[in-house]
Symmetry: C2
């Protein structure tokens, strides 16, 4: 897990959008796969820095979520990068289980095929119905389940 002597310089370097948010790309520190993109507000950035695990802000539900709080599929932060404009964060993280609420390692599991249709590539790494509840992504009562589909 990363640790920082001071959080303030990181927070002050970030450029927030009109909603006070910044997009955060999470990349698998082990194999380089892009796992997901979600949004952070300042509190989510601070929680991520304080705990060494990713936290985000759900725009649709207007609340914070700790990635993996329900599923155990947390993301251990290994390094934090900022783009040239200062308005996008890249987090390299060690992903436990899978990042995607549909059971895949990465949320980007659909690839545009020759026909122009998006096709599933690869297989799920866990059973989403078991992990998030029998109702799957449609409101099982799992806090994380309800939040993760709205991560962007």
């Amino acid at each position: 897990m990363v640790s920082f002597a001071q959080v303030a310089p990181i927070v002050s370097a970030l450029k927030w959008n009109d909603e006070g948010l910044i997009p955060a790309i999470v990349q698998d520190a082990e194999n380089g796969d892009v796992l997901m993109m979600a949004w952070m507000d300042e509190a989510a950035v601070r929680d991520t820095l304080a705990t060494g695990q990713t936290h985000f802000y759900s725009r649709s539900r207007r609340c914070h979520w700790h990635k993996g709080a329900t599923s155990g599929h947390v993301q251990h932060v290994e390094s934090i990068w900022l783009d040239c404009d200062g308005d996008v964060i890249l987090i390299k993280a060690r992903q436990i289980g899978g990042a995607c609420h549909e059971g895949y390692r990465s949320c980007f599991f659909r690839r545009a095929g020759q026909s122009g249709e998006f096709e599933r590539a690869g297989e799920p790494v866990f059973d989403a119905a078991k992990v998030y509840g029998a109702a799957g992504g449609a409101g099982s009562g799992s806090t994380e389940n309800l939040k993760e589909p709205n991560h962007a």
Copy 2:
């Protein structure tokens, strides 16, 4: 370069934000590095699909830009991926030169250090002042130069 028999299925699968835009992450197809994140509107997606090179929409300048139009540092699309929510695109591309208008291969060239300050990691791969003009990123008259710093 990728080619698609039909563009309509790809375009119709995308979920646009209130501004009619979708974030597009570009990943280096050779080494997996995340190169940049920028925004696309429908026209940019169509231009990207039609030409096999990335096109974006600049929110700050309210105009389209063809990545590499000035610098020659185009991105040849190898594959297009969509996340589970359908609202973020991942493009794996073969990057010519560097993606960043500051001369780096990736726009994510600053890493948060132990002190909490973002520090430059690695070296530029081209001379931004030469490629974009002597004024660097501060308005040299290069169309791309003026647009690229505003890519997010």
